[in-house]
């Protein structure tokens, strides 16, 4: 045999092997992908946002459902919170999204269900979902009379604080004025700790922090601000409340209320800070408190605390339904998915959700006695209506919220000014 012929055969063999393998496997995967999760009609996929490695309440719910319904397999896809909108949109566009997807009401976030529904990516839900929509906020959940997201929760947005950590550092009561707050900041900063853990590099936390503060500076005085902005009778740049909000963030940073390296902090800064007691609190959704409490020592004693109002202002918090469950319009498992989503509305599921996440269940919260829970400090604010919907749920497009998030980050690093941020938010507002 000549060298050449040997080389030919060896070469041909080398080429043939991967080629056949490719064809065979392509054939297999081709048929496999249309009948995913093992071709089982009762198995589906579920995507939700996650900010840490702890077990998410959605994971818990999925497990509960699988235990109650043997034969059903739910494949969960926890997706990082700071890239969530971008990720699910890319998947929806290509038709590759999961069967069940967690979304958010309104249109002010990249994961907002209104634009997703308008683009035809979501499946209309039935009566169960519609009945859970809080009255007065139908525009956030429905398009053309059809509901596209089933609300799960009633989330209170304020500061989640570890009273145990506070106590260990000489802070016995939560400060109710800004002066007290700053005094506590200084006390903690001296020990290398901080009042607030901020994930400056994570858009959602930067944005939520700003909105939590805005509740007291903007909406306490002017609860109709969002409507006025939509009418055009005011702008962000003209709003003293918003300027005050952003100024407060800068002040908090300058007076050591945030942890070292806050501008670059990720969600882990919050999880670790709160669990290990190096930070007292953080602007996180009340639901995350329970997740983190599981990783923290028992003495942590997390409570939802209102951020102090400006001098002479009223206490105000954020409270609304912020998490909805939607079904992918291109899903091939709609029956199984719908069964799951309807189960989420049942009292047992809501109960489980509350236990796992600490988030108040949308259907039951008005009846619960919250005096012994993490919400004990904000019960009065809720009962006398001193709260507003999460602003970005109501804003017309995600770019406004993004401008706020990026703006806060820029203020922390000194890259931008308050006026610039407000102008950017106005520029992003398209009617």
């Amino acid at each position: 045999m000549t060298q050449r012929r040997r080389r030919v055969t060896r070469f041909a063999g080398l080429l043939a092997l991967p080629a056949t393998a490719a064809l065979v496997l392509a054939g297999c995967s081709g048929s496999g992908s249309t009948g995913d999760a093992g071709g089982d009609a009762d198995s589906f996929t579920f995507t939700f946002a996650t900010s840490n490695n702890l077990e998410s309440p959605y994971e818990t719910l999925a497990k509960e459902y699988m235990a109650a319904n043997p034969g059903v397999t739910i494949t969960t896809n926890p997706t990082p919170n700071d890239k969530y909108g971008e990720t699910i949109r890319t998947q929806f566009q290509a038709g590759n999204a999961s069967d069940v997807v967690q979304t958010t009401p309104g249109s002010g976030d990249a994961r907002g269900l209104v634009p997703l529904a308008e683009a035809g990516f979501l499946e209309p839900l039935g009566e169960t979902a519609t009945s859970l929509v809080p009255s007065g906020s139908e525009t956030l959940f429905e398009v053309d009379g059809e509901t596209y997201g089933q609300p799960l929760d009633f989330t209170i947005g304020a500061v989640v604080a570890s009273m145990g950590t506070a106590g260990m550092n000489g802070i016995t009561t939560w400060p109710t004025t800004m002066d007290d707050f700053y005094a506590d900041c200084e006390k903690l900063a001296g020990d290398g700790k901080s009042m607030i853990a901020l994930a400056g590099a994570a858009g959602p936390n930067a944005g939520l922090t700003a909105q939590g503060i805005a509740a007291t500076r903007v909406y306490a005085e002017d609860p109709e601000f969002n409507t006025e902005r939509a009418d055009g009778s005011t702008t962000f740049a003209e709003s003293e409340g918003w300027a005050d909000t952003l100024q407060t963030i800068v002040d908090l940073k300058d007076r050591g209320c945030f942890q070292q390296g806050a501008e670059g902090g990720g969600f882990d800064a919050i999880t670790n800070g709160l669990a290990q007691g190096t930070s007292v609190g953080s602007f996180i959704p009340s639901g995350s408190a329970v997740e983190i409490a599981a990783a923290a020592p028992a003495e942590a004693d997390f409570k939802v605390q209102p951020f102090p109002a400006a001098d002479g202002g009223k206490p105000y918090v954020l409270a609304s339904s912020n998490y909805t469950i939607s079904i992918n319009a291109k899903s091939t498992k709609k029956e199984a998915a719908t069964a799951f989503v309807e189960w989420l509305a049942t009292p047992e599921a809501q109960e489980k959700y509350y236990e796992a996440s600490g988030l108040l269940p949308i259907s039951e919260y008005k009846n619960l006695d919250l005096s012994d829970t993490i919400y004990s400090e904000v019960v009065t604010d809720i009962t006398n209506g001193s709260y507003t919907t999460l602003p970005n749920n109501v804003w017309p497009n995600p770019a406004v919220y993004e401008a706020l998030q990026v703006g806060v980050q820029g203020l922390l690093t000194g890259q931008t000014s308050i006026d610039q941020v407000l102008q950017n938010m106005d520029a992003a507002w398209t009617d």
Binding site: E86, Q93, A110, A119, A399, T413
Partner: protein
């Protein structure tokens, strides 16, 4: 491959034995006499699928993309022509201009640094080192890895409590240690470091091949004439490897302008859009936010820049090689 027999080979067919002479070196192929205008081997339509593929996927798609850049399409439903609006928006938006600047910075920075360092390594490994093949393998290794994977390693290194800061603090340089990736001024440099780290091997290999072709005699003659090390390098070595320089810099530039993976893994475009480039913006605008028209405009801008540089590069290097 060869068109002659090397020592030890046996003819496979009658044809070979008759046609091919034995020779040690390569022979320049003599063009076969052809009837004018007729293809003597293969069929012309064999090229058709290839041509169609390329025309379709490259030219047609790019033209359609170019067309979209003048519309306000959101990927679904109807759209309308908006003329130059998208482009005006780009130049009025400070973050987009920043992305443009970053694109150019990363491209030129990575080309210059990786070529200088790559050339240095190639020169160092060039003559006489016993373990040059092992060293070459080691230095080239990062090139084959996925840019995404290497970015994650460097993300760890640059972390606020990662090895780099630990070493800096250990050396007493506490004030230098910072949150590199979250720092608006330094974040883009971290990306540059990752790019250069991965591409040194690439440049090195091209230069090594180029240097190997430089005849030793010329250098020795220069040395005998009394030229210093630096003079020898500048006047003898460098001109001889001009083609290699041309290739390495062109490819490096074109790839540098398209950087995407590293940025998504390291900073995601942050902090506060400080490390966005045209490529990441195209992704975010078109696919994450659904502004296909705007994203296409950004992509068109990127395309024009790349083409412009490629043309300039060709002119410069073609001019130079004529001198040789």
């Amino acid at each position: 491959m060869s068109t002659t027999f090397r020592a030890g080979e046996v003819a496979a067919t009658e044809t070979e034995r008759v046609v091919l002479p034995r020779r040690a070196g390569r022979r320049h192929p003599v063009p076969a006499p052809r009837r004018k205008g007729l293809l003597k081997f293969g069929y012309w339509w064999w090229a058709l699928p290839g041509i169609l593929f390329v025309v379709g996927i490259h030219y047609v798609a790019t033209s359609i993309g170019g067309f979209f850049s003048f519309t306000n399409w959101t990927g679904i439903g109807a759209f309308e022509l908006v003329g130059l609006d998208n482009f005006v928006r780009i130049f009025q938006d400070p973050t987009k201009l920043g992305a443009l600047w970053n694109t150019l910075f990363l491209a030129f920075g990575s080309v210059i640094l990786s070529n200088i360092l790559g050339l240095g390594v190639a020169l160092g490994l060039n003559r006489g080192l016993k373990s040059r093949y092992i060293l070459r393998t080691l230095f080239f290794m990062p090139v084959v890895l996925s840019p995404l994977a290497t970015s994650y390693i460097w993300k760890f290194i640059f972390d606020f409590n990662g090895p780099l800061n630990l070493i800096l603090r250990g050396l007493g340089l506490d004030t230098v240690a910072r949150a590199w990736i979250a720092d608006p001024t330094w974040a883009i440099w971290t990306i540059l470091v990752v790019l250069v780290w991965q591409n040194i091997g690439f440049a090195m290999v091209i230069y090594m091949a180029g240097l190997a072709a430089v005849p030793v005699e010329i250098e020795e003659a220069a040395a005998i004439d009394g030229a210093s090390l630096w003079q020898r390098f500048w006047h003898v070595t460098l001109p001889s490897i001009r083609p290699a320089v041309a290739i390495a810099t062109t490819l490096g530039l074109v790839n540098g302008l398209r950087v995407f993976d590293q940025i998504m893994a390291l900073t995601g475009g942050g902090p506060a859009a400080a490390t966005e480039t045209l490529a990441t913006q195209v992704y975010k605008q078109s696919f994450a936010l659904g502004n296909f028209g705007y994203g296409a405009a950004l992509a068109l801008l990127l395309t024009l820049i790349i083409l412009a540089f490629a043309v300039v590069q060709q002119r410069v290097t073609a001019g130079r090689s004529k001198e040789d």
